[in-house]
Symmetry: C2
Subunit: 115 residues, 2 copies
Amino acid sequence: MFSQEILKGTIKPLIIKLINEEGKMYGYQITQKVKELSSQKIVITEGALYPALHKLVDEGILITESEWIGNRERKYYLLSESGKQTAVKKLDEIKESISMLVHLFDLKPLVYDVK
Amino acid sequence: MFSQEILKGTIKPLIIKLINEEGKMYGYQITQKVKELSSQKIVITEGALYPALHKLVDEGILITESEWIGNRERKYYLLSESGKQTAVKKLDEIKESISMLVHLFDLKPLVYDVK
DNA sequence: TAATTATACATAATAATGTTATGTATAATA
DNA sequence: TATTATACATAACATTATTATGTATAATTA
């Protein structure tokens, strides 16, 4: 499988990014979305996902909204009001970090766009 | 200071990359090089550096060459013969991982090159 | 000259964060 | 009917970083 070591520290920002775009998401949906976006290469395990979600709630960034589909709970996570602001900051930070990695490992230029 | 969380898992590949380019490097030199390349933003601590170097030696990727500068030891690290091959693989892997992050966090396109 | 900073190695205690394994349970599909 | 997919969650463990500590020489500054 994909080398996921580098994903250390990126799960929380990734969750924030996805929820910021989708409005609200539930845990299982997040794992599927990430699988899809990564062409099945990245599989977020439950042992990483749920503690991360709970921490984001504890930090006040996310709030939850439970919905019952038949007899099964679906726990949606969405950005809190203050979370919307911190989301922007956190995403800027992670983008800066990724740009740094791109620089350190000489991945630039990634895209040549011919006009 | 810089958010270094994302650097988790990147120290060993970074060491490999730098040694691969420079031929040989010693610990302190690596910390200084990374500082320089990152505009002082990334500071590799000794607690991360030396265990990482020792592990790379244990894994057979690096070998050492001690040099005495006056009364002070300078321990150079260089790629072993087999390490030269694994270096290429490891660097390909990390580059693939970083590209994945770039994709997941929508950092593309980073560079527009007009022809 | 004395004190501080830079160079240079290293390890231990602790914290953070992931993987693997396990647990419970419903709904859908083979 | 058995398996897979959906859906939550936690515990044991592994990995890897930070912070603190330790030792010591060389160079610079007060």
